[in-house]
Symmetry: C2
Subunit: 497 residues, 2 copies
């Protein structure tokens, strides 16, 4: 189809026809109201974030999906380095005997390890597991390099993939192999290690809210839900569009349990031997699943501007006309110079195809510039979040784009925050939790005595797991609504990914 | 020991005493003339680049070693992206049946695979190898996503670790698990794929010479030495300080062999089905081994400035005196603002300890600034390469540092280039190659008929392998000096890491 795109009106007409032609592509996404799980899988595939491999549960991160991860890495890595952390790389294999050194840890992870038993044509004397997490490897290394108080703290982080032999899988949310970062730190004192645990939780919360536009609930996990081998696990929990919970990041305080199991000691300033205190903390590519389910809509992905691989897609209108490509190129150069991530699509695909393509891919802003616009020194900016289109002057386009991207971020955050707040409610009995969860999902908050027995009853009878004991506690009553004993904590319940 | 560091002379005196105290640390490095292999291992350990793990051949990249790799990644990744490549992440496991699809490939790699045979407590129906390289995985993915000429070229790269179950190991040079990047591309035509193969070879050569200050010989591998499954392998070969060769990077042209084995086809503009043409190319952390053995000396590591994690180490002199730390901080801020990687060491270690420490770590420039200097608006700059010290004005310190870092790069490159040129020589008989290699090492260049039989004889009788047929050919004679038949190529021989 050939456009005559000299008038805005005419473009819109052309566009509609093209959109109809390209409808097939859009139609292949299931509406989220019809089947949220299918909608999610459709978006992952159609936005070209991920592909399946021949091994169940092992996925391919495609360029667009991986580019989101690269931006996440860049943002987080800068925050880690600014707080004194250094990157290292440890082996991917753990000898079985090493994994077994800390009892709780091995009990949790051994059932989901993949085991290497052959090297070349030889059967190995001891089998090795592919790391499901690296506490044991870090401890072995720390034993070699920590001797004196001068060697502390050790603030290490590793970007890598880990492997857990899960039975079920889902793009980004549950992979057998997934990309993540794992921080592992050692400290001279308990106080310093506890501070580190909280510091990293706060870095995750700040990143999720201010970069991914995902509001969080910060809290502590119950003993039942904490990390294998940890004394305490802190978490940031998010609410997805379907009102289920996503644990987006965790930060663990280990005390000196691993240090004792691995015989790690240092000579203090007091000339005595001490065990160091340990933390670990991690986030993974499941955050990408989180942002899809927080911001996406029935037209596809909606990316928060601060993480989007392409922040502005430029689509030349009537690009065959003289001077159009050059004018679009000039705007692109200006925006790139101002620090934005920009792409121009001057391929021979129809405008309709292009509009649908970048809508599906969740690009925050679309900039259209044709001959009429050039005459008037203006362009069209179309927002992915609201669909709103406006004519703006090319003078100060950098400031206009910056303001609009910030406005999109704020809007996405506010909408997600509203979803979280509207769907978090106090309950005063197990029955109320069960009923309300069935009826509307979300987070039910109650008081809790702290006994695991009550937590298990809640799971069995109301179908929810404890999400966390929020750091910001509220007093909802004096007794545990499950057993009637005195309450110790306010706690959130939900159904989690 | 307490310094009175108000006069430069006095500092030097104090320094000497400290240096004596710290001699123990320095003495632990073997002289390279005594035992080059031991010198190398000493540097890797003492400069804190690497540590051993409990699995033979699997190493820990420590923060300083990993920081070099991060800088290598940053430089190369920018070059890859500037030439249109995109990053992806594929699974680490390859089903045995997938690995077997291309005959030459599996024959080469199967003997050195680590095999996963258990997932959790279940024996797997098919065993999986941990990727030794990912051609097969990329082909499986490409079969899914390449359908039309519009889908080409695919220019993918992956940063990851791979595993090869080697019998022997050596830090950076031969690991069972090592970090690398692997580019895998698909093209519509042979011509375009061949261009890509050369383009990437040139990017490696440019990076090695202009960033790592390592001069290269670019050439093509013989059929015997080429990559398993490739039609042609190109290489960049470097000469180490001990005159042995290091293959620093390779770029392979595959033709459509894998595409046929994996049944990858696309519909061309001619509406016919075609097989795409393929390349792959990679460099690894062995480049770090290369730069140690190219530039290091008996005092430790010497890092080329453009890759050094710390380009300038600032050591405050008499730091307890009022204003000294502040003045050093101000200089650091200026240098950081100018884009340099700078660290200030104001710890309570002695100046002697600090000098020895950063010398061992190969930091290109040391900046000393004390009370007398502050008065005179000057500082001392000490070069790691030559040991030369000079007083320079603080006015324009940014330009002075930039010029000195460039001069260090140029000096390191020139010295390595001289080593390469002085130790590359023409030979006209197998005997001459054997004698000269025993006597002086380096690269022997001869003519060659192209027969593998002659290559094998050279290996058996002169103890050398073919390094490459340089792209810049010379005519040294008309016949192969081994068999006397007409010569087809000029070829380099050497002993390789």
């Amino acid at each position: 189809m050939v456009f005559d795109t000299l008038t805005r009106k005419y473009i819109c007409k052309g566009l509609k026809t093209d959109m109809a032609q390209d409808k097939k592509q859009v139609e292949q996404i299931t509406d989220m109201e019809v089947d949220f799980a299918q909608w999610y899988t459709d978006v992952c595939k159609k936005a070209e974030l991920i592909d399946y491999s021949s091994i169940k549960g092992m996925f391919i991160y495609r360029p667009y999906g991986y580019a989101i991860w690269e931006n996440i890495q860049k943002e987080l890595d800068a925050r880690f380095k600014a707080t004194g952390h250094e990157n290292v790389s440890l082996p991917m294999l753990i000898p079985e005997s090493l994994l077994q050194k800390e009892k709780d840890h091995v009990e949790g992870f051994a059932p989901e390890c993949a085991w290497v038993t052959m090297g070349g044509s030889e059967k190995l004397e001891e089998r090795y597991c592919i790391r499901p997490t690296s506490e044991t490897l870090f401890c072995e290394h720390y034993k070699n390099i920590i001797h004196s108080w001068r060697d502390l703290p050790k603030l290490y982080n590793q970007w890598c993939s880990v492997l857990r032999w899960e039975k079920t899988s889902r793009p980004f949310l549950r992979h057998r192999e997934f990309l993540w970062q794992e921080g592992h730190t050692m400290h001279a004192t308990e106080e310093e290690a506890r501070e580190e645990t909280k510091r990293m939780l706060n870095i995750y919360a700040d990143f999720l809210e201010n970069v991914l536009a995902m509001p969080v609930v910060k809290g502590r996990k119950t003993d039942k839900e904490k990390f294998n081998g940890a004394e305490e696990t802190y978490t940031v929990e998010c609410m997805m569009h379907d009102k289920k919970a996503l644990q987006a990041g965790t930060s663990h305080y280990f005390g000196d349990g691993f240090a004792k199991a691995f015989d790690i000691t240092f000579t203090g300033k007091d000339n005595q031997l001490h065990h160091p205190h340990q933390t670990s903390w991690g986030v993974s590519t499941r955050m990408i699943g989180g942002l899809i389910m927080t911001h996406g809509d029935n037209n596809g992905l909606v990316l928060p501007p601060r993480i989007a691989p392409i922040q502005v897609i430029i689509i030349p209108v009537a690009q065959h006309k003289p001077g159009v490509i050059e004018a679009n190129q000039a705007v692109m150069d200006r925006l790139i110079k101002a620090g934005f991530r920009v792409k121009m699509d001057d391929s021979d695909q129809s405008a309709g195809w292009k509009f649908a393509e970048y809508e599906m891919k969740g690009v925050p802003l679309r900039l259209e510039l044709g001959p009429k616009d050039i005459e008037k020194n203006q362009c069209v900016l179309a927002r992915r979040d609201s669909g709103e289109k406006s004519f703006v002057s090319l003078d100060g386009i950098e400031e206009t784009v910056a303001a609009m991207l910030d406005s999109i971020h704020d809007g996405l955050y506010a909408r997600a925050k509203k979803n979280l707040e509207d769907n978090t409610y106090a309950c005063s009995s197990l029955e109320e939790v069960r009923e309300k969860m069935q009826e509307r999902g979300g987070f039910a908050k109650t008081m809790w005595c702290g006994d695991e027995a009550c937590e298990i009853r809640m799971k069995e009878e109301a179908g929810v797991t404890s999400r966390c004991m929020p750091l910001e506690q509220e007093h909802l009553g004096d007794v545990c609504p499950i057993c009637g004993k005195p309450a110790k904590h306010m706690i959130y319940w939900g159904v989690a990914y």
